[in-house]
């Protein structure tokens, strides 16, 4: 159920994001989802890619500061209140979320979550019959 997410440190200067995506593109690595968190000084690019280990190595070879972080991906219906329901369950069970990003296609939505307690988060979501996306499926999208 664990998804390996790629996190890349980026200085706030033009062209850096473009550089990352073109390096991955040249090496045949596809991006499934990504988000950028920024501060006034720097940013962190987080992404789910088709081959996280290989992407990590390639980017490190190109002098980027990269880390691999485990996250979970929740699949829920693309309808009002669906995300709220999942978040309510996590909140009731004292699981905090460090960050999340999501995308929806058609009638379902994928939500990438980084909770403070990964194991607890998975257990609770499973206990409540929430659907978690398998890594192998997600990387293929």
């Amino acid at each position: 159920m664990l998804i390996r997410q790629l996190s890349i440190f980026l200085e706030n200067k033009s062209g850096r994001l473009n550089e990352v995506s073109s390096i991955l593109g040249t090496n045949g690595i596809n991006m499934t989802a990504f988000s950028v968190a920024d501060t006034s000084e720097f940013g962190i690019l987080r992404m789910i890619v088709s081959d996280p280990e290989r992407a990590c190595k390639i980017l490190r070879d190109s002098q980027f500061a990269v880390s691999l972080t485990d996250v979970v991906c929740l699949n829920c219906p693309n309808e009002p209140g669906a995300l709220a329901k999942a978040l309510q369950i996590l909140s009731d069970n004292k699981v905090s979320i460090e960050y999340l990003y999501a995308y929806s296609i058609g009638d379902s939505a994928n939500v990438v979550l980084k909770p403070d307690d990964l194991d607890l988060c998975i257990k609770i979501l499973q206990d409540h019959k929430m659907e978690l996306v398998k890594a192998s499926e997600l990387y293929k999208i």
């Binding site: 440190f9 200085e11 850096r16 968190a37 000084e41 720097f42 500061a65 990269v66 880390s67």
Partner: protein, 432 residues
């Protein structure tokens, strides 16, 4: 007014006799009281009786900041602590500060040379002197303070910072003299403009500025913005603090109080004296100090000496405005900063590689120091919170060692340029 005409206008021969006598006494005192100095002298085959007059000065070994560090904190003091009435400190080249101790007589001597300096600048006892140098371990505030009281002028001991209040008191109390760093003077001028203060309502007429290098262009700017005469004062805590030398109203070089501080100019590479009048490194020997006399102390400041009698009537040798440094020390808002201090802090933090670049800018006339530090794989975290904590930690560690505020910028790995030769660690954009 000349405060001590007998000394300040003494003939060359009279001054030489005073200097020779005091030098011999000082050498005897340090030889017999400081094992470190005795050993250094013995190593070059000297004993206390080998120094007869100022011509023998060149036989003596040099003293540097490293000697002060090796004897941290009180190893070079010549008197027992019971005789020391005050301690001051400035930055050393690494973590430890450079400490100096003053006896009661040292404080009196210091007050005397500062009083002379104030008189050179044209200050008199009817003046109200606003001292906006920092009070504390830094010698600026207390040095000017004692000299001003000794002169009999009125002191406003406001210390540095709080610019609105500085301006308010300047208006309300009618300060006629301002003492601070030149960059702070410009900052005050800018804030005055923002506050729409009418400069004609101020009584300010003289500024005594020092503790950091400044150019003639900056002098003109300060003089026109504040409508005052801007006087350059020189000093370093190792020698005594401000008052080692100061300009007179003719602004043509700083008169060195050479009956207390014996100047020499050497070539920093060969360590030999330069041809008189040439630029080189300024070296001082203190010949009256009791707490921590220093023999041939290398200031690292580059300047030249002017021997001719000044228009003001003083005969004391003059030094030109400092032209730069023979080492990599930066002076930021009056505080000494060595790149090696930054390096030491970074090396002591396991999360960080010691790849850094110091950038100094002058923003709104205030010096700002930024340090670019590379983010390395091992401490790169996915969480912004953790990176911000790291940034804060580096900031705090640096600030506690340097004593000034620092802006830390985390940058990507390998983006700080590597050079095959001497690494470029500092970019100074101030154009001093």
């Amino acid at each position: 007014m000349i405060w001590n005409e007998k000394i300040e206008c003494a003939s060359h021969e009279e001054m030489r006799i005073i200097q020779s006598e005091r030098l011999c006494e000082t050498v005897k005192r340090i030889y017999h009281n400081v094992p470190y100095y005795r050993k250094k002298m013995q190593e070059v085959g000297l004993n206390a009786n080998d120094i007869h007059d100022v011509d023998d000065l060149q036989k003596l070994p040099f003293t540097t900041k490293i000697d002060l560090r090796d004897n941290y904190p009180f190893g070079l003091f010549t008197v027992p602590m019971s005789e020391i009435v005050r301690l001051h400190a400035s930055s050393g080249t690494t973590g430890k500060p450079t400490v100096v101790g003053y006896t009661r007589r040292d404080i009196q001597m210091w007050s005397e040379v500062v009083t002379r300096s104030l008189c050179m600048a044209g200050v008199h006892r009817n003046d109200i002197v606003q001292i906006a140098y920092g009070y504390g371990l830094f010698t600026g505030g207390l040095g000017l303070h004692y000299g001003t009281e000794n002169l009999g002028a009125s002191v406003i001991p406001i210390s540095g910072g709080n610019t609105h209040k500085q301006i308010q008191l300047m208006e309300d109390f009618g300060s006629s003299v301002l003492c601070c760093t030149p960059s702070y003077a410009l900052n005050i001028a800018e804030v005055m403009k923002e506050m729409k203060v009418d400069i004609n309502n101020l009584k300010l007429r003289v500024g005594i500025f020092g503790a950091e290098p400044w150019s003639e262009a900056m002098r003109k700017e300060i003089e026109s913005k504040l409508r005052i005469k801007a006087i350059d004062i020189y000093g370093l805590s190792e020698i005594v603090g401000p008052g080692v030398s100061c300009e007179c109203e003719y602004q043509c070089g700083m008169h060195i109080n050479e009956d207390h501080f014996l100047p020499e100019i050497i070539n920093p590479d060969s360590l030999q004296p330069v041809t008189p009048g040439e630029i080189g490194e300024l070296v001082f020997t203190t010949i009256t100090k009791e707490g921590i006399p220093l023999i041939r102390y290398r200031t690292r400041d580059l300047t030249r000496l002017i021997q001719e009698k000044c228009v003001c009537g003083r005969t004391m040798v003059r030094m030109e405005k400092c032209k730069g440094r023979s080492d990599d020390m930066l002076i930021i808002r009056g505080v000494n900063v060595f790149p090696s201090q930054v390096e030491t802090v970074l090396l002591n933090m396991s999360e960080v590689e010691p790849h850094y670049l110091i950038i100094v800018d002058r923003e709104a006339s205030l010096d700002m120091m930024s340090v670019m530090v590379e983010v390395q794989e091992q401490f790169f975290s996915d969480e912004i919170k953790k990176l911000q904590e790291l940034r804060l930690k580096i900031t705090r560690n640096l600030e506690s060692v340097l004593g000034i505020s620092v802006n830390i910028k985390l940058v990507e790995p390998k983006t700080i340029e590597r050079t095959a030769g001497k690494a470029i660690r500092v970019i100074d954009n101030r154009n001093i």
